[in-house]
């Protein structure tokens, strides 16, 4: 059994922002990087499936597209227990459709029984890469999965979480691509020893085949106007609490 997990190193903005000179992205100096939260859950779910069903030779492979620094996020997955990684060299962010096109040949080459992606990446919230990739791979897919029941062959029974928390129980043929929602499990922490060992694990680096045309282009990034905006309460915590208490009492009358 082989499970491929697509993982992204996401960027978070602190409390200051500057844009690149062309205004099409944020200046990287203002960004901090981490493994996408959803992808930690996806990796954990793959590891649990392998532990439950696994036999010798089973593999969990993490695939990520990005510059060398994304290997940091991949190493975290390897430290959790994934067996190896494949990094697709890709510079800068792209739209999710173009990204799926870049990922597809690499994932296909692995002939996985299951492919996992996160529901969304926290920095761009496309919630699209997994489903687009499934189509390119010719795989059935279920988006926003919160439970997987599978005995290693034949259809799997999965829960899809809808708005309001309503659960849609779906039977999906395999191989399949599932996009994994947070809360499906509790991602493990890697031990120091596992982190050390992960440094030895293989990350294969490959060049993407010529990508397709982009599905969009960013014209300009900007800081959104606050609209009416919040009235900011200044002063000491005591003064702030005092104002909050007044507002609450007034509004609840």
């Amino acid at each position: 059994m082989k499970i491929v997990v697509c993982v992204k190193q996401v960027a978070a903005l602190g409390d200051e922002v500057e844009f690149t000179p062309d205004e099409r992205d944020v200046d990287p100096d203002y960004l901090d990087y981490a493994l996408n939260e959803w992808d930690a859950y996806a990796t954990e779910e793959a590891l649990r499936l392998r532990e439950r069903l696994g036999s010798d030779g089973d593999e969990v492979v993490v695939v990520s597209a990005g510059p060398e620094q994304v290997e940091e996020a991949m190493r975290r997955c390897l430290a959790m227990g994934a067996d190896r990684g494949v990094r697709l060299t890709l510079d800068g962010p792209t739209d999710p459709i173009a990204l799926a096109r870049a990922l597809a040949p690499t994932v296909e080459r692995e002939s996985p029984d299951l492919v996992f992606a996160g529901v969304q990446s926290s920095d761009s919230v496309q919630a699209a890469t997994g489903t687009a990739l499934a189509d390119l791979l010719g795989l059935p897919r279920v988006a926003v999965v919160t439970k997987i029941e599978w005995d290693g062959s034949g259809p799997a029974r999965v829960n899809r979480e809808l708005e309001g928390g309503l659960v849609d129980v779906v039977e999906v043929d395999t191989p399949a691509l599932l996009t994994i929602q947070t809360g499906i499990n509790e991602p493990r922490y890697a031990t120091l020893r596992a982190i050390k060992q992960a440094e030895q694990k293989e990350i294969e680096v490959i060049e993407p085949e010529a990508g397709g045309e982009p599905a969009y282009r960013i014209r300009r990034m900007f800081v959104p106007s606050r609209g009416e905006g919040a009235e900011m309460l200044d002063g000491s915590p005591a003064a702030v609490a005092q104002r909050i208490a007044e507002i609450v009492r007034e509004r609840l009358q």
Partner: protein
Amino acid sequence: MTTLVVAEHLQGRLREITLELVSAAKELDGPVAVAVIARDPASLTEMVNVEGVDEIVNVRVEPEEFESDVYQQALAALIADRQPEVTLLGFTINSMGYGPAVAVREGLGFASDVYGLAQDENGLVATRSFYGAKVSAEIEFPGKRQVLLLVRPTAWPPAQGSGSASVSELAVETAGSRARHLDFEQVAASDVDITTADFLLSIGRGVGEKENLPQLEELAGKMNAILSVSRPLVDAGWMPNGRQVGQSGKTVKPKVYLALGISGAVQHLAGMKTSGTIIAVNTDPEAAIFNVAHYGSVADLFDVAEELDKLF
């Protein structure tokens, strides 16, 4: 420019997002068509016949509920037949399961979580957020004759007023479904109903540790508020999901919503942004929650909580 809206429905009911999509479509020039993909589309026709809709296209499919393969095939057929320049779906769980597949297969321009739409000399311009909703971007689609957009829920008000749309049908052949709907499972009933509370004290990942919860539960009690939470606290198993505010939790509209340590992700805002008075406390001055809050404080939530504790 023709705009095609795909209606969304669940268990026989039209979902509000459909009418929001009609409002979004009306911002663009040209006729608006609404496609109803369902086992019994005629049962929903009346509800989507609102002001601004020019045509309703009924597409009969076998499954009673959403199945991604069937929706993909139906939408691809609709786009091939009607040739809309713009297709609008909700940025919903269902759309996440087939919208991007249609876009990649048909070679469409694509953007998700779109909350603004405009047209200028270069064509369509969509606005969406990046980096924790701290920045926005204008998106264009050079070289794309057709574009598929997933539109953020609650970004447009639902369209109203009765319309006079023509109703037509499109016959679509759909092959078997590789992901089949079996059943729905209801969410377990909750200990409290946060949707009827006048005052919610809502806490997010900013609380840090589970050990910090009791003091905030106590504060909520003293303030006569009901405690609600953002999703990470439910994911971590610290709080039952009946307490969760947001897209996959409850939609609430209390008189006062006091948010402590919540960043203001779209899916959270979808569940609370129409609250009477929103007060947010967050250490990050750029947190997106301040965009919807009426009152804000850049402060450590525990410092403020401690002081509030003395006042109630």
